[in-house]
C-alpha cells in the first residue's frame, strides 16, 4: 500500500474500521455515487514526494522577479512596505493559522481578543466607532459599503468619484447593478486631481443613496473631505475608501462626517502576494451597526464574571438570516486582519506616523527630481506617497525596459485608464532610498 504523510490509516486500521461499520469494502460506502469517472482517467499527475514538490515550486518561483530584488515604484493599491520579522513569526503561529471561525468562543479567545483589538486599532485610524472583523479586500469592501449605503438611505442610485481606483469602480458596478442600483460618476478636476465637489453638489438628487470617494484618491491626491461632505446632504451616506497608512497623517474620515470607511489593509503588515490575500477593513457609526455586513466581535463576561469576547449581532449574518442577511459573506480575511493588528502593535502610535511620513518624504523628493528632469506632475493637488506625472507617450515601452534592469517603475496609467495614456502613477514607501530614486531617474530619462 502506498503511504501518504497526511493519511494515517494502516491496512489493519482500514480492515477493523470496515468490520465495525459492517461493510466489506470502502466502495460499498459509495453506493449512491454515479461512477462518472475512474481515477485512472483523470489527467492529474501521480503523487510526489515532498522534496520533488519543493523543487517544482522553487523552479516556478525562480521564473518571477521579486520585489526584494527590484527598485519598486509600483503602488496603486498594493504596497511594498517593511514587515518586521516578528510580525510574520507571530502571525504564523499554528494556533492562529489552523483555527477556524470562533464559533466556540470558550476555545477561541485568542482569535476573538486579537480581532477585538484589531477592530479598535482600525477605529483609531478611521475615526469611526465600529469596525468589523474584515472583508476580502478593499474593492469588495467598497462594493459592500455601497450596498449598505443603499440599505440605510433606501435610495436606488450611488455616485462614485472617477478618481476612485478603476478596479474598485468595476467591482462596485458588478456588485450593485444586479440589485437594481444605478451607478453614476462625478468627474475629477483636471487641474487638481481632486474630485469636483461643485459638480458633485449639482448631481445630488432625491434618488441618490450614497456617495463614495477615495482618500488619497487613485492618483494619490489628498481629497478635501470637508468640501466633499459639504457637497453631500447629511441624510445621504458618505463612503470613504481610505489607505490605512495615509490615515496616520490625515485627519480621519470620521472627523468629516463619513458614514462608512473602508479600504485595503495589505499595507498594514501583509505581503503584496500578487495582490492577495490582503484584507478589506470596514468601519461605520454605531447607529448603523445593525445594517453592516460581516462578523463583529464584542466584549462580554463569562458566568464567573471574567472578561471575554464573542461574536455579536449574528442575526445580521447569512447563517441565521439566510436570504435576508446584510451580506452573504461567511469566510472573511481574519488571519490577514490579525497580522495587521500585530503589525500596528509593532509600529505603535509613533511608528505608523513615521512610516507614513518617510513614505511621503520619498515621494516629494522624487516628484521634485522628476520635475527637474522635465517630467511635470499631472495634478496640482496635495499628495502623500503617490502621485501622477507626465511620463511621455512612449512610457509603456520604457517601463518594460526598466523592469529588465531591475526597476519596477511607476505604473503606466493607460493599463487601467486608457484616457490617461502617457501618464504614470509613482508610489514610494519607507523602503524607497535615495539610490532607488537616482536609479529611476537615470533609467527614465
Amino acid at each position: 500500500m502506498k503511504r501518504y504523510p497526511y493519511l494515517p490509516h494502516t491496512e489493519q486500521d482500514i480492515k477493523e474500521m470496515l468490520e465495525t461499520i459492517g461493510v466489506s469494502s470502502i466502495e460499498d460506502l459509495f453506493v449512491d455515487v454515479p461512477k462518472t469517472i475512474s481515477p485512472e482517467e483523470l489527467k492529474i499527475p501521480e503523487s510526489r514526494d515532498e522534496f520533488t514538490v519543493k523543487k517544482i515550486l522553487m523552479g516556478l518561483a525562480r521564473e518571477n522577479k521579486t520585489l526584494d530584488e527590484m527598485r519598486v515604484f509600483l503602488g496603486a493599491g498594493i504596497y511594498y512596505r517593511f514587515i518586521p520579522s516578528v510580525v510574520q513569526h507571530l502571525a504564523s503561529k499554528p494556533g492562529f493559522v489552523t483555527a477556524y471561525t470562533p464559533y466556540q468562543a470558550e476555545v477561541s479567545q485568542g482569535t476573538l481578543q486579537a480581532l477585538f483589538e484589531y477592530q479598535t486599532m482600525i477605529c483609531e485610524l478611521t475615526g469611526m466607532e465600529v469596525t468589523n472583523a474584515s472583508m476580502y479586500d478593499g474593492a469588495s469592501a467598497l462594493a459592500e459599503a455601497m450596498l449598505m449605503a443603499v440599505r440605510i438611505s433606501k435610495k436606488p442610485k450611488v455616485i462614485l468619484s472617477k478618481a476612485v481606483h478603476p478596479e474598485y469602480i468595476r467591482t462596485v458596478e458588478t456588485y450593485v447593478k444586479p440589485q437594481g442600483i444605478d451607478v453614476e460618476f462625478v468627474d475629477f478636476d483636471e487641474k487638481t486631481g481632486r474630485t469636483d465637489y461643485e459638480a458633485l453638489k449639482k448631481m445630488i438628487s432625491e434618488d441618490v443613496g450614497g456617495v463614495a470617494i477615495q482618500q488619497p484618491n487613485f492618483f494619490g491626491v489628498v481629497e478635501d473631505l470637508k468640501a466633499a461632505r459639504e457637497a453631500i446632504p447629511e441624510k445621504v451616506p458618505f463612503v470613504v475608501a481610505a489607505d490605512p497608512i495615509a490615515l496616520a497623517l490625515l485627519e480621519p474620515p470620521g472627523s468629516f462626517g463619513a458614514d462608512i470607511v473602508v479600504g485595503e489593509g495589505q499595507a498594514l503588515g501583509n505581503f503584496p502576494a500578487l495582490g492577495g490575500p490582503g484584507f478589506g477593513f470596514f468601519s461605520t457609526r454605531m447607529k448603523h451597526i445593525r445594517t453592516m455586513p460581516g462578523r463583529l466581535i464584542g466584549e462580554t463576561k463569562d458566568v464567573d464574571g471574567k472578561t471575554g469576547y464573542v461574536m455579536i449581532l449574528q442575526t445580521r449574518e447569512q447563517h441565521i438570516r439566510r436570504s435576508k442577511a446584510t451580506s452573504n459573506i461567511c469566510s472573511n480575511h481574519a488571519h490577514s486582519a490579525v497580522m495587521a493588528a500585530i503589525y500596528m502593535s509593532a509600529l505603535g502610535k509613533e511608528g505608523i506616523v513615521e512610516v507614513a511620513k518617510r513614505s511621503a518624504n520619498a515621494a516629494h523628493y522624487l516628484a521634485a527630481a522628476l520635475k527637474g528632469k522635465g517630467f511635470d506632475l499631472t495634478f496640482s493637488g496635495p499628495f502623500l506617497f503617490e502621485f501622477v506625472f507626465n511620463a511621455g507617450q512612449d512610457y509603456e515601452k520604457k517601463w518594460h525596459d526598466m523592469a529588465e534592469k531591475g526597476i519596477l517603475g511607476p505604473l503606466p496609467l493607460e493599463r487601467l485608464m486608457p484616457e490617461m495614456k502617457g501618464k504614470a502613477l509613482a508610489a514610494t514607501t519607507e523602503l524607497t532610498t535615495k539610490e532607488d530614486i537616482e536609479a529611476l531617474l537615470e533609467a527614465i530619462a
Binding site: 489552523t98 479567545q109 462580554t300 463569562d302 509593532a346 518624504n361 524607497t432
Partner: protein, 482 residues
C-alpha cells in the same frame, strides 16, 4: 489583558532603514492633517511576542486537536504548503507580465488541475471565499439568462438543508429564493422539485453530498429536469472532499461549480479566512467569467481582460494568490491517487465514527443506523433533550472540557438539536475512538449528572459567555473606560 493596557509611551518593536532623504514639507491643508495621533499600542518586541503567544495558547486549532466541524473540512494543513507560499510573497500584481511568468504559470496549471477534478471547461480563480464564489456563480448565471433574452427568470431554488450562504448569495445576485422541502430521506424531493420548476427558475443550488452527509443519488435526473426547464444547476463545493476521483460535478450535470480551497485542498482556515473560492463553468458560460482569467498563449502566460460578456470584477487584482500556491502544492503532493484516497478515507472515517456512535446517538434520516453516509453525518440530539433536558449546546460545551472542538451545532436547520460531524481523512482511528468514547461518556453524564454538562465548559480559558448582553449593548472596541 488587552495589548492597549500593556502599552507604555515610547516603546516600539520596529526599526526602519536610513533612506538618505531629507524631511520634506508636504503642502497639505492644515485642516486635512491629523490633530491627534491614532492611539495604537506601544510595546517592545518581547511584549509583542508574549502578548500574541498568550493569545495563541487560548485557541483550539487543528494542530492542537480534533476539530470535527461538519461542512468545514478541518483537515490537516501541511507545513510544506506554508513554506511554498513564502516563495511567492513579494510580487506586485501590476508587475509586467514577463516578470511574473512563474506565478501566472502556477495559476494556469492550478486552474487546469481543478478543472480536471471538477469536470469543467473554464475557471476563475478570483473569488476569495466560498460565498464570494457563490455570488460570482450566481452573477454568471444571471448574465447567461439575460444574454439569451430570457428575462422572466427571477428565482433560485435552494433546498432547506442548504448552507445559509446559498440563499444569501442568490439574494445578492438579485434573485428571489425558494426553499425546497427535503424528502423523507433527506434528499431533494423530485415531486416537490417538479412542482416548482418552471420558466421563472434561473437555477437550482445544490450541495452534493448534501449537508446531511448524503449523496443526492438522483442527481443525473435532477440535472435533466433543471435543464429541461431552462434552469442551470449550481454546485456548492463545500463537500467535494467526499468525491474526489469518484465523481465530478461537471459530469453529474452541474453547469457552475465552486470550490473551497480552504476546505478540500488543505489551505488553512486562519480563524475564518482568507480562503479561496474558484468557480468552474461549462463551455456555455465561459464568456461570462469575471476578469481577469489566466490563460496561456504558446509559452506565455497572461491575464485575459478581454472576456466578451464578462460579469465584471469581483474584487481588485487576481484573487488570493497566496492561498492558490498552497492548494497547488497540495495537489502536486497528493496526486490523483492521493486525492482519491483522501476522499475514500474521509468517507471511511465518517462511517466508522457513525458506527461507533450507533445506539448512543441517533443519526438524522437513518432510523436503523445502517445507511452509509459520505464524509460527514448529522446526529440528532432531540431524544437526549427529551430524556435528560440536555441540549446539543450543553453536549458541545462539555466536549470542550474533553479537549475536543465541538461539531457544527444546530445546522442543518431541518434536524432538531443537530450535531454535524465531519472527521476528515487526516484523523487516525485512535482519535476517532477517543472522540466516540467522550461522546458516550457525555451521554452517560447527561443521565447521571446533568449539572456537569449545563455548567460546562470548566477547563477552558473562559467559561460560557453572556452573548445576549454582548449583542444588546455592544462593546466593539477597547477604551480606557471599559
Amino acid at each position: 489583558m488587552t495589548i492597549f493596557e500593556k502599552s507604555s509611551s515610547g516603546r516600539r518593536a520596529y526599526t526602519l532603514p536610513d533612506q538618505g532623504i531629507p524631511d520634506q514639507s508636504l503642502g497639505i491643508e492644515d485642516y486635512l492633517l491629523r490633530k491627534e495621533k491614532a492611539n495604537l499600542p506601544e510595546v517592545s518586541e518581547l511584549d509583542l511576542v508574549r502578548h500574541y503567544t498568550e493569545l495563541e495558547a487560548k485557541n483550539h486549532s487543528v494542530d492542537k486537536g480534533f476539530y470535527p466541524l461538519g461542512s468545514c473540512t478541518m483537515k490537516y494543513n501541511p507545513k510544506l504548503n506554508e513554506d511554498m507560499a513564502a516563495l511567492f510573497r513579494y510580487l506586485h500584481p501590476y508587475q509586467p507580465e514577463e516578470t511574473i511568468q512563474g506565478a501566472l504559470r502556477l495559476m494556469y496549471e492550478l486552474k487546469e488541475l481543478l478543472m480536471e477534478i471538477t469536470g469543467t471547461d473554464d475557471m476563475t480563480l478570483v473569488p476569495s471565499a466560498g460565498a464570494h464564489g457563490e455570488l460570482t456563480g450566481m452573477l454568471i448565471i444571471r448574465a447567461y439568462h439575460l444574454d439569451r433574452g430570457d428575462t422572466k427568470r427571477d428565482k433560485v431554488i435552494v433546498p432547506d438543508s442548504a448552507h445559509g450562504t446559498n440563499p444569501a448569495s442568490a439574494a445578492m445576485a438579485g434573485y428571489k429564493v425558494l426553499e425546497l422541502k427535503s424528502s423523507e430521506e433527506g434528499l431533494v424531493d423530485l415531486k416537490e422539485l417538479e412542482k416548482h420548476l418552471d420558466e421563472t427558475v434561473a437555477a437550482i443550488m445544490l450541495t452534493n453530498p448534501n449537508t446531511l452527509g448524503y449523496f443526492e443519488r438522483d442527481i443525473l435526473k435532477i440535472a435533466e429536469m433543471a435543464h429541461e426547464a431552462g434552469a442551470l444547476l449550481y454546485y456548492d463545493g463545500a463537500n467535494l472532499n467526499a468525491v474526489m476521483g469518484k465523481a465530478r460535478p461537471g459530469d453529474m450535470g452541474f453547469d457552475v461549480v465552486h470550490l473551497n480551497l480552504h476546505k478540500t485542498f488543505s489551505t488553512p482556515h486562519g480563524m475564518g479566512g482568507p480562503g479561496s473560492g474558484p468557480i468552474g463553468v461549462k463551455e456555455h458560460l465561459k464568456d461570462f467569467l469575471p476578469v481577469p482569467v489566466v490563460r496561456k498563449d504558446g509559452e506565455r502566460y497572461y491575464l485575459d481582460y478581454d472576456v466578451p460578456k464578462t460579469i465584471g470584477m469581483m474584487r481588485a487584482f487576481y484573487g488570493n494568490f497566496g492561498v492558490l500556491v498552497k492548494a497547488y502544492t497540495y495537489i502536486l503532493t497528493m496526486g490523483k491517487d492521493g486525492l482519491t484516497k483522501a476522499s475514500e478515507l474521509a468517507v471511511l472515517n465518517a462511517n466508522y465514527l457513525k458506527a461507533l456512535l450507533r445506539g448512543v446517538y441517533p443519526v438524522a434520516y437513518d432510523p436503523d443506523g445502517k445507511r452509509p453516509c459520505m464524509h460527514e453525518f448529522v446526529a440528532d440530539g432531540s431524544k437526549l433533550l427529551k430524556e435528560t433536558g440536555i441540549k446539543t449546546l450543553d453536549v458541545a460545551k462539555r466536549l470542550l472540557d474533553y479537549g475536543f472542538h465541538a461539531p457544527t451545532v444546530y445546522f442543518p436547520l431541518i434536524v432538531p438539536e443537530a450535531l454535524m460531524i465531519e472527521p476528515t481523512e487526516t484523523e487516525s482511528k485512535e482519535t476517532l475512538d477517543a472522540f466516540a468514547d467522550a461522546m458516550k461518556e457525555i451521554v452517560k453524564e447527561a443521565r447521571e449528572n446533568p449539572e456537569l454538562l449545563k455548567g460546562a465548559p470548566r477547563n477552558t480559558p473562559v467559561r460560557r459567555l453572556d452573548e445576549a448582553t454582548a449583542s444588546r449593548k455592544p462593546i466593539v472596541r477597547w477604551t480606557p473606560e471599559n
